[in-house]
Amino acid sequence: MSISSDQPMDMELLGKYLSGEASPEEAMAIDEWLAADPENRRQFQEITALWENMTPGKGHQLPDKTEAVQEFKRLLTKKGIATVHPIRKVFPYKSIAAGLLLLVCATSAYFLLYKKPADTLISKVVKQTNADVLRDTLPDHSVVVLNSFSQLKYAPNFNEKKRELLLQGQAWFDVTADPQKPFVVQVGDIHIKVLGTSFNVIQDTNHIAVSVKTGAILMYRGADNITVKAGQKGVYNVGSQHFSLSDAVNINSMGYATRVFNFENATLKEVTTELSKAYNVKFIFGNQALENNTISSSFEDKPLEYILEVISITLNVECRKEQNIVYISEMGKK
């Protein structure tokens, strides 16, 4: 079916289309006719305006296309991961010996300001998260856990000769050891090279901080570099472009991947924010004041039920879990 482009508008067909009665072929014919001539489009808009103005409501509004494309890509990424790679069910925190651990955290605000130099890396494979956390296996069998609002890119030939990744946001890596092919993560304008270790990188607008749990890593920018060992934190100042060393490792910052937490005087709000990512659940408070209760406790890869029980007993609250939602209410109140 087709309507020639200079033909006057076929009102019957248009009526069918606007009434939601058009068959796929008829809809195609309308769209072809519309694309053929701007005048056709103008007439179509006239009739559509007339049609929509008969009843209240906004009528047809095309959603923001760029946003829709981004949203669709995220859906694809989720699906891609589900079908292309097997997902490890339990995060193998205890079996780190087999590989190396690397946790990279970065606030995305930094990247909004930063022009990505690393696109020289010709990144093709893109993994992206929205509010969710994504667990995936890379082609070299390294495991990546991508935190919320983060993006990871790598070339399709990753692991052929080298292992290079470009990260925006936060991610955890459980890296398979391979001395022939160094594992290098680019974050902002610096690189992190795995030397045989487990470590954690946190980035904000002004700093990129790498906390090392075991072993050592190399942070470098051009010839400038710093080696960070177990128990240390290497800090890169984005403004002055200098590296420095300090102590203190924040275990909770990698909790979403490791499920290892050490809360000290943390509010229930903070605790549940971390837990919701690590265990993929939502928390709903029966009473907002509950969010401000504080708790000090540490958990090492414990089942969620165990943690909820500790919280219940410590704070005298009730935790009820229904599917992916945990309801927290005062004892005795529902």
């Binding site: 606007l18 809809a27 009739i47 494309v69 694809l76 891609g80």
Partner: protein, 185 residues
Amino acid sequence: MDLHKAAKQEQTHDGGVVVQYFHAYFEVLHRYAYTILRDNDEAKDAVQAVFLKLWEKREALNEEQSVKSYLYTAVYHQCLNMKRHQKIKEKYVAENDKPIYDPGNDLISKERSNQILREIENLPPQCRLIFSKSRFEGKKYAEIAAELSLSVKTVEVQIGKALRTLRQKLLGIMMIITSFFIVKF
């Protein structure tokens, strides 16, 4: 549009080819889905669902023309399915939970829509009846035809006639409406 060739070359497992089709067809498919669902968000969901299905079949994609008909047909069926579910839902959910105030109304002067309604009143009786059943009661052509013991073709013709008449009568105010409409297009 030799989209297919270009898209095919870029095929990787991040869905390159499908994303390009999404770019090319999002607008037309969304508008089509909207005519059936009468809801912009649901129309978006429908189009996205169809493209996710297309992605699963990406290995089997051949030339663009067949992809195009596939997309229109899939959107059509997806929308009908969603409508069916919607009907079941409505049985359980109380009606009239839609907000009465609609910001979209602000932009249409009451006078203008009254003018349109007056012209609808002036249509020949059968034409007006059929048009109102379709436009205001949301009835399907087939339902209207059955109710009035007419053929579906007659319904099509009468609605076409109504639109043609209204357009002629309202030519003056159409200019104003269109200029408003282009802004939101």
